[in-house]
């Protein structure tokens, strides 16, 4: 127990505290406290007034009891009384009690505020300081409201003592942080800036803290502080270590103030005034020079203070990023620290270097330390330092050192901590892709990555490999070989199986020549992993198997056996079951040609920014991302890569076939060739399904698919017959046809070539030829602007049940159309049966970032499939009479829209497609035509008669065909032409 004398020490308090400390149990402590509380209560209640000393003592005891964790519900009044005492110790205890115990909604707050006000108004600096401290400690809104106006006044008043100014600055800072709206800005702000010139270093330090906080909100008000701060800084930096006396800390002059000034300067851009700037640069150089000097003391405090200033200087240099000389010097300085004994220093050096690496001036300088950093990654004991080293390696990586860095990171990955593995994996994946010189290296790296840290390889990473392999012909063979080898390892990660499954399925044929990787070997290798994999992977492997059937017919029997196995056909997982059933049927029904078409090699993926980068940014959180990402950021990258997976469904032309097979949930490989035509054909046959003989083009497909026709209603095959997903790959994307579409269409009823559409951006030209039920159409898309169209994607859409009537196979076009350029698209058209509405052509693209879309009617009408027939007069009339049923005839009497010129009419009728029969009609004015509309399903004979009446400017058109809707439709079409 400390010896205390009555006076400033409080013996009662000391005794009480030592009693409590000696208590053997909690119960004893509570008893002692209860006793003491009762004693204090009786004292406070007592009739005779307590003197200041005992009041202070009891308040102190209460405070102690409160801090032990007991509730105190009295004594506040006594504490407030203490505030009005003139003794420092009593006042101090009073303020202490209040700042600890009084909550803001207490009714005493008015009394307290009053006491504080008195103290602030007093001329006694100690009392003012106590009051200011109390305000800062409580920091409540009420206090803020009461004193926010007074404190700035005290702060800038000329007669305030230094210590008061210091307290006032810090108190204001606290209030500002608690409720910024309460602190009024005013003319005092300018005078606060001048506190930087104050004689007293304490005041300057406090003022710098305040200004740094304030200037973040309104930088302009405090702009003048730059020059003052610079001059203050230069005075400190250039002073000898003994000049500042009290403020020299282990031979370092005013380290805290220096750091704060440097921080303040980081709130502003480099000073514009050349003189100020020169002085500042001089300062910074001095700091860097000082770092080279031998330490003046062996004490750790000395080096800590020195380094604190140095690091803050370096961050300022990085912040300015305009002085190459300084940046390089900073970098060299940090390089020295990289090998320092002190772990903290190494950490800080790595961290600062990370930011330095992103500056163009110092990037090269940073690179010189690569060996040291790699060494740090290998040997550093502390995981956080290793993490920083990995960050730095990532930041300093470029084409020249990518191989080295990536291989080092891969090596590190084997021993890396679990927490940062995923991040390292992403970094390796990005670096490997970004700086890949040859893609075989890239493939090697990523496969290595999957092997080493398969669990941490996210979907994005392996999707990306597939994209790149698919898009690059030159690595496909190598990739296939490498994955094949990788898969031979007894235990390989599931991600490896996924990549292997996909790549072998696509490009397994490239290595099939080697007897060591013959198709059966490939298959058995993959299948040996099958049972160990999750459902998603198994689904992928099933798709690989069906691709194998296409690639290597010799494996067909084995694979069918696998698919037929009960474990597949009756798998509990719907996805697997469906795939097994569908693939099995597909493989047994389809001819090799069909398989080859359906399972054609995947088309290249559209190039776009790596999604991995976005993921890394997400992982790192905002802020950190900027350091990692060096200008590769594309404003559109995020939304484009939102749901990244290399499925054709995210490809610019959405592939209906992917959806059609009901594999939407499945990863990429399930998708057969992504041409919409194929999909349409499939659907066609399902809904229509007349037995067609193999004759032309896509018929084999129909043949096999039509045999699939009668599916059990609940069988997954039923999905195939559902035309909806195929008809509109994105229903919301296809707008209604433009208003002029019909008019535009009419122009093409009688002609095959011409301009289909034109506006200020785009011109679409058409060239087409038709023979029997087949046609080929060339669409020419001309970019009339000078800007590139992006994501250009024309799609043909079949509204309603058109797709059962007409098959249109489109060839893909490039996704970009350069300014002034023209791209051509070929459409193969087959008329399956008579149809009434033309298909729609939907064109979508991005022009200058804005999405454009346009829907037109494709100029394909039923008359295009007219086969003209020559016949004699009596033949004609005989047939005419045969088609005498009322519904077979369509007749229209209409007014002429154009001048009635016999030659023009003749040309139009020929263009319409029918043969013109001369000398058939008794009236030579009349026109008579005959033809057969060829569709795949049926042929429709067609006879027509046009009787112009020149006087009335009228025509009478009569059409007789074997099918009623055809008659009416043709009549309608033709009538509009005259």
């Amino acid at each position: 127990m400390p010896a205390v004398s009555k006076g400033d020490g409080m013996r009662g308090l000391a005794v009480f505290i030592s009693d409590i400390r000696n208590c053997k149990s909690k119960e004893a402590e509570i008893k002692r406290i209860n006793k003491e509380l009762a004693n204090i209560r009786s004292k406070f209640k007592g009739d005779k007034a307590l003197d200041g000393y005992s009041k202070k003592k009891y308040v102190c005891k209460l405070l102690f009891i409160f801090l032990l964790g007991h509730d105190i519900d009295f004594g506040h009044m006594e504490a407030v009384n203490l505030l009005s005492s003139n003794k420092y110790t009593e006042k101090q205890i009073g303020y202490l009690f209040i700042s600890v115990l009084v909550n803001s909604n207490s009714e005493l707050i008015r009394l307290i505020n009053n006491a504080i006000k008195n103290d602030l108004a007093s001329r006694n600096p100690t009392f003012m300081c106590l009051a200011l401290h109390c305000i800062a400690n409580v920091g409540s809104r009420e206090m803020g409201e009461a004193f926010a106006a007074d404190i700035p006044r005290i702060l800038v008043a000329g007669d305030s003592m230094d210590s008061v100014k210091q307290s006032a600055a810090l108190c204001l800072l606290r209030l500002y942080k608690a409720s910024p709206d309460l602190v009024p800005m005013g003319e005092w702000t300018a005078r606060v800036v001048h506190l930087l010139n104050d004689q007293h270093m304490g005041v300057v330090t406090a003022a710098v803290s305040l200004i740094t906080c304030l200037c973040k909100k309104n930088p302009d008000d405090f702009k003048t502080c730059i020059s003052l701060a610079v001059s203050r800084l230069s005075r400190i930096v250039s002073s000898a270590s003994t000049d500042l006396q009290d403020y020299t800390y282990y031979f370092v002059p005013a380290p805290w103030l220096s750091v704060k000034l440097l921080r303040l300067l980081q709130c502003y851009p480099p000073p514009e005034d050349a003189a100020v700037k020169g002085r500042l640069v001089e300062c910074l150089e001095t700091v860097l020079n000082k770092a080279q000097e031998p330490p003046k003391s062996k004490k750790v405090q000395h080096s800590n203070a020195k380094n604190a200033i140095l690091f803050e200087t370096i961050s300022l240099i990085i912040h300015y990023d305009s002085e190459p000389n300084l940046l390089v010097r900073a970098c060299n300085q940090l390089g020295q620290f990289l090998q320092h004994r002190e772990t903290n220093l190494r950490y800080l050096a790595l961290e600062s270097m990370c930011t330095l690496a992103s500056s163009e001036f110092s990037h090269e300088a940073v690179k010189t330390h690569i060996d040291t950093v790699i060494n740090a990654l290998k040997t550093e004991r502390d995981v956080s330092v290793r993490q920083r080293a990995a960050d730095l390696l990532y930041a300093m990586c470029d084409r020249s050192n990518a191989k080295q860095i990536v291989s080092e990171m891969l090596r590190y990955l084997e021993t890396a901590d679990y927490a940062i593995r995923e991040e390292i994996v992403l970094k390796v994946a990005i670096l490997a892709e970004k700086y890949a010189v040859d893609y075989s290296w890239y493939v090697d790296t990523i496969l290595n990555l999957i092997r080493i840290a398969g669990d941490y390889v996210s979907e994005e990473v392996w999707y990306r490999v597939l994209q790149i392999v698919t898009n690059r012909d030159d690595v496909q063979g190598y990739a296939a070989k490498t994955v094949f080898e990788a898969l031979q390892a007894p235990a390989c990660h599931e991600n490896m199986v996924k990549v292997g499954g996909y790549i072998l399925g696509e490009f397994g044929n490239l290595i099939a020549g080697d007897p060591r990787s013959s198709p059966p070997v490939q298959f058995s290798l993959l299948h040996s992993k099958f049972h160990l994999c999750s459902v998603a992977t198994r689904a992928l492997l099933l798709s690989t198997y069906i691709k194998f059937i296409n690639l290597f017919p010799e494996t067909k029997a084995t694979i069918q056996g696998v698919l037929r196995a009960g474990s597949q056909l009756r798998n509990a997982d719907v996805e697997l079951q469906q795939r097994a059933v569908e693939y099995l049927t597909l493989s047994s029904v389809a001819s090799t040609d069909v398989l080859a078409t359906v399972l054609e090699e995947m088309p290249p993926f559209p190039e776009r920014e790596s999604s991995i980068l976005a993921k890394l940014k997400r992982k790192k959180g905002p802020g950190a991302g900027s350091a990692l990402d060096d200008g590769r950021r594309d404003p559109s990258s995020n939304d484009v890569n939102g749901g990244v997976e290399p499925t054709p469904s995210t490809v610019s032309t959405p592939s209906p076939s992917a959806d059609l097979l009901g594999l939407r949930a499945a990863p990429p490989p399930a998708a057969p060739p992504a041409t919409s035509g194929a999909g349409n054909l499939l659907v066609d046959v399902f809904s229509d399904g007349p037995a067609a003989q193999p004759s032309l083009g896509p018929t084999p497909e129909e043949a096999f698919l039509s045999e699939l026709e009668p599916p059990a209603p609940e069988s997954p095959m039923a999905l195939l017959a559902d035309p909806a997903p195929a008809a509109d790959p994105g229903p919301e994307d296809i707008g209604p046809p433009i208003p002029e579409a019909d008019e535009l269409l009419n122009k093409f009823v009688c002609k095959n070539n011409g301009v289909l559409f034109e506006n200020q951006l785009l011109q679409i030209g058409v060239k087409s030829e038709f023979r029997q039920n087949l046609g080929r159409m060339y669409l020419f898309y001309g970019n009339k602007t000078s800007v590139q169209f992006q994501n250009f994607s024309p799609t043909v859409v079949h509204p309603g049940d058109l797709q059962t009537q007409l098959a249109v196979q489109t060839k893909r076009v490039a996704a970009q159309v350069d300014g002034g350029a023209q791209v051509q698209q070929v459409l193969n058209i087959e008329c399956l049966r008579d149809f009434l509405t033309p298909p729609l052509l939907s064109v979508r693209f991005r022009y200058g970032g804005a999405p454009q879309s346009l829907t037109l009617k494709l100029p394909v009408t039923i008359n295009k499939f007219f086969q003209p027939t020559e016949m004699a007069a009596q033949d004609f009339f005989q047939r005419w009479k045969q088609l005498s049923l009322p519904q077979q005839e369509a007749q229209k009497i209409f007014k002429a829209n154009h001048p009635m010129d016999a030659e023009v009419t003749k040309a139009k009728l020929l263009g319409f497609g029918s043969a013109l029969l001369d000398n058939v009609d008794p009236n030579p004015e009349n026109f008579v035509g005959a033809g057969i509309i060829q569709t795949k399903a049926l042929q429709v004979g067609c006879l027509l008669r046009l009787e112009p009446n020149a006087q009335a400017q009228m025509y009478r058109l009569t059409l007789r065909t074997s099918k009623e809707p055809v008659s009416r439709h043709l009549c309608e079409l033709l009538a509009q032409q005259f």
């Binding site: 149990s25 009762a38 519900d73 009295f74 506040h76």
Partner: protein, 459 residues
């Protein structure tokens, strides 16, 4: 199945740590799922064990809020504890054990220790360190309680060092046969010059009464403790005024039933010492047994009906303004005037903001104890059918706390020389067919003590 048993002092320092099963003391929470015990190196397992020990210390002994529940579950490990003066005994288990069994065991453990070295205190435990481990090895095997009969234990766990050289082989084999035999609690060949037995009926009466004098809840829990010094293997039969027995006997003579029926009591539930033949109790409701030598607890029982409440407390509390409180409490003794109650103590709680108390009482001594926030009124002796009174003025300090005083109940402690449940010992017969002493030769002593349990009256 008890996983382990720890004994702590009041500071939470471990005095005794005996672990029976490896499952306890696994590193708490998630880790336990990852590692199985066998996979861990020994060192780590030891470290984990330390964790269970620490968990109890941190969460119970040093808890911020006083832990009132005797069972605490920390990270899927259950800690059952009892406290004896400053000593904590905690049984730990990971399994879903019968909690009553664990507590029964802990009480038994306390009895055994008390029988061996007297009061359970830190000092005594430290001095009998080896003995306690020896006992723990004997009375718990792989966490299953074994024979914990003090008499039996004392035959082979002795305090006076190694005795085996004095023991003959015969004696040793006798111990074995006795401990493993049918009557494990008594050895053969006991001889006393004077056959004597003592019977104590100890009851504690619990009450909660409303201010108006209405009984809100009341029950008596009692025990019959017997101390026997009898030769040979005597067969004893114990009889009391159990309602069921009396009614059964009274079937023949109706008027006897009406006469004695008044005095018979309804026992709600009872438990017996293992020596009592339960089959006989079940069929005839007679309590017959061969008693262990020395002191033991024959039975425990509980009654809730027709309880004689020895004291009635009449409180009167009046608040005079914000700063004053007047309290008047009258106690009335409610038993035969010839009997004397002893150690009477009335505890009147005072508000937390009491700043001064003046007490006037006619009998005994009353004092305001600030450390306990109560006025404690003590009376040494009080005869039946008497009445006494205390009045106090309590001064209060006004506080800014708006909470109203909760007015805790007035509690009371006392000791009376009768059984508040009304239980009477009717007979205790001793038969020893082999030796030549009869029931009449045995000197029998019977004593009734009624104590207060939680005896509270709201005010």
């Amino acid at each position: 199945m008890i996983g382990g048993l720890f004994i702590y002092n009041h500071k939470g320092e471990v005095l005794i740590s005996r672990v029976y099963r490896d499952d306890i003391g696994r590193r708490q929470a998630a880790d336990s799922a990852i590692f199985s015990s066998s996979g861990l190196p020994l060192e780590e397992r030891l470290a984990n064990r330390r964790n269970a020990v620490d968990a109890f210390r941190v969460n119970v002994i040093h808890a911020r809020q006083q832990v009132r529940s005797p069972v605490t579950n920390i990270a899927r490990t259950s800690f059952f504890h009892v406290k004896r003066s400053n000593i904590w005994l905690a049984a730990v288990t990971k399994q879903n054990v019968n909690a009553a069994m664990v507590f029964e065991f802990l009480y038994k453990m306390c009895d055994v220790m008390a029988a061996y070295f007297g009061k359970i205190s830190e000092e005594n435990i430290k001095n009998n360190f080896v003995l306690i481990y020896e006992l723990l090895d004997e009375i718990l095997d792989f966490g299953y309680p074994q024979n914990s009969e003090t008499g039996a234990l004392k035959t082979f766990i002795t305090q006076q060092g190694i005795k085996s050289q004095h023991q003959t082989k015969e004696e040793q084999s006798q111990i074995t046969s006795q401990v493993t035999g049918q009557i494990g609690w008594r050895r053969e060949g006991i001889k006393y010059r004077r056959n004597e037995l003592f019977l104590d009926v100890l009851e504690s009466v619990n009450l909660l009464m409303s201010p108006q004098g209405q009984v809100l809840s009341a029950h008596v829990s009692g025990r019959v403790v017997m101390k026997s010094y009898l030769s040979g293997m005597p067969e004893c039969k114990f009889g009391m005024n159990d309602k069921i027995v009396i009614e059964k006997q009274g079937k023949g003579t109706a008027d006897e039933t009406s006469k004695s029926g008044k005095q018979s009591i309804a026992i709600d539930d009872c438990t017996f010492h293992q020596c009592v033949r339960l089959s006989k109790f079940d069929s005839e409701r007679s309590i017959s047994f061969i008693p262990p030598d020395g002191e033991f607890e024959l039975m425990r029982y509980r009654t809730t009906k027709d309880i004689i409440l020895p004291f009635r407390v009449i409180p009167l509390v009046r608040e005079v303004g914000r700063t004053k409180l007047e309290v008047k409490v009258v106690i009335k003794s409610n038993f035969k005037p010839s009997l004397l109650a002893q150690k009477i103590e009335v505890r009147i709680p005072t508000p937390l903001n009491t700043s001064g108390v003046q007490v006037i009482c006619m009998k005994g001594k009353a004092k305001y104890k600030a450390s306990e926030n109560a006025i404690v009124w003590k009376i040494k002796r009080m005869a039946g059918m008497k009445e006494s009174q205390i009045s106090a003025e309590i001064e209060l300090l006004p506080t800014n706390d708006k909470k109203k005083w909760a007015r805790p109940p007035i509690s009371m402690n006392f000791e009376v020389p009768f059984a508040p449940s009304g239980l009477k010992v009717r007979y205790l017969k001793v038969f020893e067919p082999k030796l030549n002493y009869s029931d009449h030769d045995v000197i029998k002593w019977v004593r009734y003590i009624g104590r207060s349990g939680i005896y509270e009256t709201r005010c």
